[in-house]
Symmetry: C2
Subunit: 114 residues, 2 copies
Amino acid sequence: MKEFIKVMKALSDPNRVKIVKMLQFRSLCVCELQAALQIAQPTVSNHLKILEEAGLVTYQKSGLWVNYSLTNGESSPYAATLLGSLKHWLHEDPEIERLIKVLPEIRREDICRK
Amino acid sequence: MKEFIKVMKALSDPNRVKIVKMLQFRSLCVCELQAALQIAQPTVSNHLKILEEAGLVTYQKSGLWVNYSLTNGESSPYAATLLGSLKHWLHEDPEIERLIKVLPEIRREDICRK
DNA sequence: GTTTGATATTGATAAATTGAAATATATTCT
DNA sequence: AGAATATATTTCAATTTATCAATATCAAAC
């Protein structure tokens, strides 16, 4: 039950859903997500932690960057199913559409490096 | 997005998930749910309202009683999918198992009428 | 080793959520 | 109409959550 609730709660926040939808296209680092969502960096990190503990996302460190991506759902069957459904859902949501549209223009080289 | 979040939030509470799992077996009135969950009646009513607004449950008035049941998912594709998945999920959860076990013994005639 | 830059953690605060007690509504029965 | 009863609504306290500012961590470059 606890595991199920964790997944549901993780997907009960619009910003976290947006993160998942963006990660469907490619893996992203924290600063790229921050630039897309326009919220504070610690807030992004916190959301990612909640998504990770629910088994929805995973990360890979690459030097100074941390690349987040969707899991294959090994850790949680609930996460796996929801991630599968979310591939088809919210495609025509205006906020999601806008995010996906600007996603190609968001590159860590332009954002993070000074 | 809002509609999706509503469904996720509705299923983010253990008591509401328990209600859904019980309604998989038969429709139930508020006092039966209250007896099973052992929480205050207004709390049950409130949970039911949240589930209803998410498109997960519906009700039918029958005299003094209000019979709640699961929707067929017409109102929300998200609710429909989640209800479908929940049929297979949480079967072996100890709390759910206990509830399903006592469900046949819970009859409104024995509980509500004085 | 010191600096730089990306990310994580901590602390504080406002908003949302859960649950219960009190009250209101509505239907049935007398 | 009035009483009884099942459910809904309101109100409030306790807890949780989302967010940001400040700080800490940690890897890379100099």
